[in-house]
Symmetry: C2
């Protein structure tokens, strides 16, 4: 396998691949004038483009517009605003999304049908297009490839996020050398009035649209589709990737082996960003990994992982640092997946606590040492729940966070 | 239609039908010595029996035992304890459930294969059978048909419930006169470490097992299957009904018209009890009804109602008394059901707030009078959310409560 180097620290990830620029600006869509709320990602050369969109039937205008762009397959700019999601905005919303592409295209001297549009923020409010226009103009003037260009646009797409989310990776292997950089936003998975999860990825690898698309689908299923804060899918979710082939040391990626290298590198970027979204989950105090092992089918493994990850009772128990195995096994039990309680084993941070239909003897006998050991584990920030089903060879992993008083505060006290 | 009289007030509902007795006792399964924790429901004559059980694959021992009893079809006693759910208790648990039936049967001089067993309380702890035996003995001695007998057993099945849940109905119509009485418990829908929702119903109507069973299935689908506090299905859920045919003024119920009368009366009892469970939902401050109308299919209507009812974001918004239409329509959007946002209309307490893809003009224009009117509605204890899809003729209703700080407190601070 060639060397894959994860780039650490604030990197301006999105402009690390060759030939990409980014620009950001404040135009008044957010109330806080110290915030950025408009951004452009631009490649001077045309890119292969692929994207994954929300499955919510109530999709925002920029989602509908960008789906058409992606169906054509090429793009070399993405324009993104925060502060207003342009969702539930009717016909005006559709026109506004298209106009955002046209304004951007005019400034960059490209075709508007090569511009992906994304919006995030409150829903049901018409876009203030005067502000949007000036924001796009300022962001276009700001375009550049320096680290601050990359980190500024990571800031510009934030809404309730507490920190920016960047990830980048370099593959160095002679004629298979390329870089992938990505940024993401999201802190409820998903808070639809502050819609939503967005992720943008750039790469200078030489890869066809077909391979790019299939790698992105796989990567998304391994990362963003495996995280949940509150199980609420937003109207604006989008993961988009642009590949401009600008790396001089990158041959065309087409052999199975080379595709695997690209896939691994892309997986690193998407998974790193997905985990950062969970770390930044609304009110989160814990990072929870749920591993389901030895399931009869992949579908069963996924169902159990998702049921446990979405259970408010499991999430409140972990918030309270309680090793509440009953809530976990019963969530698995109602998931709809095949389970045999006489084979099921449950581990928390690798400690076996439930086996074959009952809690372990130490729990039944109220063993104080065991109790203290478990309590210490529960006080850690990272909790791994493993369910070993003993029924087959399939597995699944989900990541989530706990449910805290702060989650209620954020979401009950937020007013429309 | 014959007269159906709902009986109001504390009624000792479960002993209102002819020929039923109840007894309750405290035997130390609960810590609070002022609580009751054991109960028996008994009919001196044999009954037709029907029941609905949890679909959780991790089912408690009494569930497995009682399923066998119900498959045989006759029973004339139910023994119920609170304080310990006898779930995740392995082979000993199975034997303990059977022994509860045997102890009860010996005392009542009946066959143990006519005794339904139910348990509720903490899971994963072996039953203390010495206490259980003495509890059953005391409850058997306490058997009687007075109002306190009925209300005491409603108390004995409580765990975290704040109040007892009783409902009774009398049908008076010459030779079609009978009574149905029911009790229920549950305050998380379902908190599996305090497993769970139980409901027991008695009737002196003359009805065959087949009709009794089909009426109970229908009634359950219209009531207990339409409520959710946290979407977590427990290991111990059970709804059981005994019909002893002891009413002297009741002909055999077999015509379609008579079955409909029985169904209506049973529906009243189960729906009243189901709504009381929601009122008593953990940390609940609001009673929320979700009506989905004009759906293409029943399945679509159910999916949408359930998605909205289970959305933590909808439930926290209502807790915060915010008319957050965005969270509601986006929950409908991700439910998996067919939706056309251009036809969708959303009402809160009959006020139209979203129509055909956008919020109503009053919201877009920040109309202060409209805002105040909506705020006043949101301050009410009962909130009705209506989603009119404009796609067909199918409908569905769900009931739920809000998500509050107290829910987090109850479930995060509870310790295993």
């Amino acid at each position: 396998m060639p060397e894959i180097n994860a780039i650490k620290g604030p990197t301006g990830a999105i402009v690390m691949p060759e030939g990409f620029q980014a620009g950001a600006a404040y135009c008044g869509l957010k109330e806080d004038i110290t915030s950025l709320d408009m951004g452009i990602i631009f490649s001077t050369s045309m890119c292969e483009a692929a994207a994954v969109f929300t499955k919510n039937k109530i999709a925002a205008a920029p989602i509908k517009f960008s789906q058409k762009i992606i169906n054509r397959g090429n793009a070399n700019a993405i324009v993104i605003n925060s502060g207003n999601a342009n969702a539930c905005t009717g016909e005006k919303g559709n026109k506004d999304a298209e106009d955002m592409a046209k304004i951007t295209a005019d400034l960059l001297n490209i075709n508007y049908q090569n511009v992906i549009v994304a919006s995030t923020g409150i829903i049901g409010h018409p876009m203030e297009m005067d502000k949007v226009r000036s924001g796009i103009e300022m962001a276009a003037k700001d375009l550049g490839s320096d680290i601050p260009n990359g980190s500024n646009i990571a800031n510009a797409i934030k809404t309730t996020d507490k920190f920016i989310k960047e990830a980048a990776v370099k593959v160095n292997n002679g004629d298979l050398s390329f870089t992938i950089g990505g940024i993401a936003k999201g802190s409820g998975m998903i808070s639809p009035d502050m819609a939503t999860m967005l992720c943008f990825i750039t790469t200078d690898a030489k890869i066809s649209r077909e391979y790019l698309n299939s790698c992105l689908q796989i990567s998304t299923n391994r990362s963003f589709n495996r995280i949940t804060v509150d199980g609420h899918t937003s109207t604006n979710d989008m993961v988009a990737i642009l590949a401009n082939g600008a790396s001089m040391q990158c041959k065309q990626i087409s052999s199975e082996k080379d595709i695997q290298v690209f896939q691994n590198a892309l997986d690193y970027v998407t998974l790193t960003l997905a985990k950062k979204i969970i770390e930044d989950g609304e009110g989160a105090t814990k990072f929870i990994q749920i591993d389901v092992l030895e399931a009869e089918s992949q579908d069963d493994a996924d169902k159990i992982a998702r049921a446990v990850a979405n259970s408010p009772l499991v999430k409140t128990a972990i918030n309270g640092e309680d090793y509440n195995w009953g809530r976990i096994v019963s969530a698995a039990g109602y998931s709809g997946a095949q389970i045999d309680e006489n084979r099921l084993r449950l581990f928390i941070n690798k400690i076996l606590i439930y086996s074959k239909g009952t809690p372990v003897p130490e729990l039944i006998n109220n063993d104080e040492t065991f109790h203290v050991m478990l309590q210490n584990e529960m006080q850690k920030k990272e909790i791994t729940i493993s369910l070993q089903l003993g029924l087959g060879a399939e597995s699944s992993t989900m990541w989530t966070c706990d449910f805290s008083h702060e989650y209620i505060t954020i979401n009950a006290e937020y007013h429309t």
